[in-house]
């Protein structure tokens, strides 16, 4: 695929106006001024395809699924096609030595200029032997690829924060990318999986401005992770009114009341699900009646149980913001009630039983 992005899009049936409309929305989602949509469209339409090397480490391929699969071909997917994806194990046709050669070629030809995308955490146990590609450990490959990268995008909670492989007791000694690479700009796009448009947004920003978007203290793009799920939740008014669902089939659940007492981690989770939604804007976890799991925060797997109401303060998730959550007395009381059992479970790393899931 040669030529500018707009020509390639046109060949796939995406008109200029559709692209402009998409860029206007993308700029809006990224909290950029409306004029940026146009600048973005112009820059991206003419952009040269940056070389991208995607290294998969201790991961489940869910992140790749999230970004590449959708019900209808989206502009997101097409923009993703526009980058020169020179190495991606799951998607590339080449295998074995040919694949590794493609990676090395891309690294050499685009030294200092390529974007490095990483999904999955990096195991350090047994000298990294827990996860190898072509006989080489993940940590070795990451260090090598990071050297020539213009920037690194850590996709998914595993690459950003260690994720599920790092969950207690972390048998493989898994660490996030940022624990290993210290001298390159890193963007974390956490989520299990992450929202596709966040990925496109970061790529679009990079193509348009030649730089990475503004990041928060956890290296996440502020425009998508600046607010909590709770801040933007359409069920928030019920929280403010003290109306909570207490089981998944009670009157409150039927009325669509707040899921805080059923363990929703929305108040301490920074992500854009409440506004961007999933599956082409169809719905998102809270809208379909299940609390937020907090998957875009560090150590969400060890947060004390998905169905336990947040304790105050929410220690494992380490959020000051939790103190502002105490608004409703009910929520706080439930939190305290769960705290003892949660602490006990955490220290002993007990296997979760069905009883733990019940309140």
């Amino acid at each position: 695929m040669q030529g500018s992005l707009i020509d390639t899009l046109a060949r796939q049936g995406v008109t200029r106006r559709a692209f402009l409309k998409y860029c206007a929305t993308l700029a809006s989602m990224m909290a950029l001024p409306p004029a940026a949509g146009r600048a973005m469209a112009e820059a991206m339409a003419a952009a040269k395809r940056p070389s991208v090397i995607w290294l998969p480490f201790q991961e489940c391929t869910g992140c790749t699924e999230s970004i590449t699969r959708s019900h209808s071909p989206t502009i997101e997917g097409m923009i993703f096609d526009m980058i020169s994806l020179d190495y991606q194990e799951t998607l590339m046709a080449a295998a074995g030595h040919q694949a590794e050669a493609a990676r090395l070629d891309a690294m050499q030809d685009n030294a200092g200029k390529y974007l490095l995308i990483v999904d999955g955490s990096v195991p350090l146990g047994l000298d990294g032997a827990y996860s190898c590609i072509g006989g080489r450990s993940n940590v070795e490959m990451l260090k090598e690829a990071a050297q020539g990268a213009a920037a690194i995008v850590a996709v998914g909670t595993c690459a950003a924060f260690g994720g599920i492989p790092k969950a207690n007791p972390n048998p493989t000694g898994a660490v996030p990318v940022s624990d290993i690479v210290k001298d390159r700009p890193i963007v974390n796009i956490p989520g299990c999986p992450p929202i596709p448009v966040v990925m496109t947004g970061v790529l679009a920003h990079y193509l348009t401005f030649g730089s990475l978007p503004e990041l928060d203290d956890k290296k996440r793009p502020k425009s998508f992770f600046g607010e909590t799920i709770h801040d933007r939740c359409y069920r928030r008014p019920f929280y403010d009114q003290g109306k909570f669902a207490r089981t998944f089939d009670d009157e409150g659940a039927r009325q669509g009341w707040c899921l805080f007492e059923l363990g929703c981690k929305g108040p301490v989770t920074h992500n854009a699900c409440a506004t961007v939604k999933w599956n082409g804007g169809t719905s998102w976890p809270v809208e379909s009646g299940h609390g937020c799991l907090g998957c875009s925060e560090p150590d969400f797997w060890d947060g004390g149980g998905f169905y336990k109401a947040l304790s105050v303060p929410a220690d494992p998730l380490k959020f000051v913001a939790a103190s502002s959550v105490v608004g409703a007395g009910v929520g706080a009381a439930v939190g305290f009630a769960n705290r003892a059992s949660k602490n006990a479970a955490r220290s002993a790393h007990e296997t979760t039983t069905l009883a733990d899931l019940e309140k």
Binding site: V14, T15, R16, R17, A18, L20, K21, Y22, A24, T25, A27, S28, M29, A31, P33, P34, A35, R38, S72, I75, R235, P237, F238, Q241, A253, R254, Q255, G256, G280, G281, T282, G289
Partner: protein, 136 residues
């Protein structure tokens, strides 16, 4: 099974009503219209970036009224670019294929940028016309 047959009815928590954030937007629009007339500079306000309630948006739409022109764009979902009762102010709504509102703007412009045909696209049209004539 249709989604309607699941006995789950989400009751909206009641309209929060007017937040008071809409009236200042009229002043902002006045300033933008002034700039449009003085320097020919078009601009837009991103409504999804502002803390506006549905009631605020309804109030604003009502105040601005309906103009003579309504443009519908069919491109990856429907978009509407409607002139308001104040010429030069357009209410722009972008929807996705599922019909959900993706972004919403108020534009101050003689003609919204999106309505104009791009020279490159006009060129394609010209080539098409030429090919039709030569094919006759």
């Amino acid at each position: 099974m249709a989604r309607d047959s699941i006995p789950l009815h989400v009751v909206p928590p009641g309209e929060p009503g007017l937040s008071g954030n809409a009236p200042p937007l009229l002043r902002e629009l006045l300033e933008r219209v002034r700039r449009l007339l003085d320097d020919g500079e078009s601009s837009a306000i991103d409504l999804s970036a502002l803390p506006l309630t549905p009631a605020d948006l309804a109030w604003l739409r009502d105040k601005l009224g309906t103009g003579e022109i309504a443009v519908t764009l069919h491109a990856h979902g429907e978009s509407t670019l409607n002139e308001t009762g104040c010429p030069g102010i357009w209410w722009v709504t972008h929807r996705n294929e599922q019909g959900a509102v993706m972004s919403q703007f108020i534009e101050a412009a003689f003609v919204p940028e999106l309505v104009k045909a791009h020279p490159r696209d006009v060129l394609t049209g010209q080539e098409y016309l030429e090919s039709m004539i030569s094919g006759c």
